[in-house]
Amino acid sequence: MTVEDLQELAEQEQQRQEKFTNRLMYCAAAGCVSCGSINVRDMLKKALAEKNLAATVEVVGTGCMGLCGEGPLVKVLPEGTLYQRVDETVARKIVEEHLVTKTPVKDNEIDTSHPFFAEQMKIVLENCGRIDAEKIEEYIAVEGYAALARVVTEMQPAEVVEEVRKSGLRGRGGAGYSTGLKWGIVRKVQSDTKYVVCNADEGDPGAFMDRSVLEGDPHRILEGMAIAGYAVGAQQGYIYVRAEYPLAIERLRLAIKQAERLGLLGNRIFDSQFNFRIDLRIGAGAFVCGEETALIRSIEGRRGRPRPRPPYPSEKGLWGMPTLLNNVETYANIAPIIRKGSTWFAAIGTPKSTGTKVFALAGKIRNTGLIEVPMGISLRKIVFDIGGGTPEGTEFKAAQTGGPSGGCIPAAHLDVPVDYESLSSVGSIMGSGGMIVMDSTSNMVDVAKYFMDFCKDESCGKCIPCRVGTVHIHGLLERIAQGKATTNDLPLLEELCMMVKETSLCGLGQSAPNPVLSTLRFFRNEYEELLQEPATFVPSGTDTPPTTH
């Protein structure tokens, strides 16, 4: 495959698509599939056949279109009309009315000028809802692999690293470390063997950002990893993906095969000296295996337990070799950065948090689903404009970001810009992209307890503070929730939290107390209301009935 071949493939595919008068894009991501989008597809095809449109209208399954709460979703191209809650009846109407009589199905049409769409900005998810994830040609038709072609044929590895650094891109896996700096470190370490690893473990409860990208646009990850491989000097990549994502695994397998067939992975990519292969490694779904050192051990076939850093994986990673490890969404940003330039990317978001971030919006909010917003957008905009606010009759109370490692942001901080530094200044974190909205009906002690329950179950057990501390924090929260705790227990709870946070070995333990600490910071009264006074000495004469607990 040469650059020209790639160009030609892209044009062929574009021409093939132009032959259709319309393309009906139905959402084939997990959310819509679970509410019936496969039946919708069958009905669309059946209705098209009945109307003799099968040859001129194409039905295409795509990645997540975002508004998961209103699925199944169908988009009609080239108009771009988007339909929600499409069942078989509506599917038939889309063919018979929209396509044949040219009258849109008003009842199910979504107003795409609504802030849900208008406030979003799609880079990572640009192809979700736009291409068939199972066809490499469709990816190539939308400039897929053009960035890899350019990098391999026109740029020096150091230039690629520099471009990524200048973009300001920071790791989307949680910690927000500068991607360019990380690439630079791995590139500079002298070693014949280096590895590139994609962290697709996505273990946060309720998170499905990475999964949507993997299922909806798998080639984007392969391209990002190959570019990384070229930049740091690695020939082998691994994608560590959890076994709970069978569709993502299937799509990735297919995508790797397709890319190998076309010579976009393998030896002498674009006729250069650059060889790069990607293999999958399936994780058994332990949350801690998302931690980089545990993930590496797991790929090596050992027990997924973290180890102290330094040495960092960039110096000693997989099988002791320098290893670049990034998150799915981080890799998903690479191709656009190369295609459109670091200046373009750096102009999006805020100076220190550039680009966009994908969030899985859930909880007590009208529009739930997958959104991508420019960094620095206010939390208020996400909750009220994009999310449509809390349901009728309830009031916004807090937004939880960062899942079990994050915190709750109360209404008083609704105007906080969503960027790395601002979120941590209000006691939460950007995290990997979970965002749960809570309203006046949510109980904060229960929220903290829920996440602590998760962390105690997911602790690997290697270090004492996390293994035992999380159990006790959870137990204390339970006692508090049941009204059995005393005012002595609150300082104990806080001390335990600080201790687990400061002394645990890996990020799991270090961040596990965050949901408790942040709810204590903003909703302390909800804890205090549940506490009793401990019994004390009562001298005779001053007799008041002693409080018991």
Binding site: N488, P534, A535, T536, F537, V538, P539, S540, P546, T548
Partner: protein, 178 residues
């Protein structure tokens, strides 16, 4: 007025009290300084009020113990966990991970020499709780005397300091489990 001291025996083997008696001639000294208002070695029925220092031997093993603990807390200025069973649960708590019925059956039926019968069936005998647990898990405890049993010297040091109105300074020498 001499300080009022009480000692009580909950879920323990009485070894701590035996050790108390090991104070030997110091007991005479102590008897001059304190008023022993309640103790298994003194014949008083009701736990009195306004006790200055109460030493509690044993874990909280029955519902009766739990009630007593609260009474002790209300009636005492200083409550002391006296010996490892009160401090950690210790031997009394060895049954905790087992099923209570199994434990009772093993002890009172399988291993009985005569009249095998679980004492639970007698209404006069206190109902055991599922687990025996340390005193401080039920009430606020002011000081701890460790050991199984604590030595006479440990007891002496703690008691003299308590009577001087101080929390006993538990130096390395006296902090010992087992």
């Amino acid at each position: 007025m001499k300080p009022k001291v009480a000692t009580i025996w909950l879920g323990g083997c009485s070894g701590c009290h035996m050790s108390f008696l090991d104070l030997d001639e110091r007991l005479i000294d102590l008897a001059d300084k304190i008023d022993l208002v309640y103790s298994p070695i003194a014949d008083v029925k009701e736990f009195p009020r306004d006790v200055d220092v109460t030493l509690v031997e044993g874990a909280i093993a029955s519902f009766e113990h739990e009630e007593l603990a609260r009474l002790i807390r209300r009636n005492s200025r200083f409550v002391v966990s006296f010996g490892d069973c009160a401090v950690t649960g210790n031997v009394t708590a060895m049954r905790n991970s087992l099923d209570l019925d199994d434990v009772l059956h093993r002890s009172y039926v399988e291993l009985a020499d005569t009249t095998p019968r679980v004492p639970r069936d007698y209404p006069t005998i206190a109902e055991l709780m599922k687990q025996a647990r340390p005193l401080h898990e039920y009430i606020t405890v002011d000081a701890f005397i460790h050991g199984c049993p604590p030595t006479a010297d440990q007891i002496w040091s703690a008691v003299t300091e308590l009577l001087a109105g101080k929390k006993p300074e538990l130096t390395h020498v006296f902090l010992r489990y087992g």
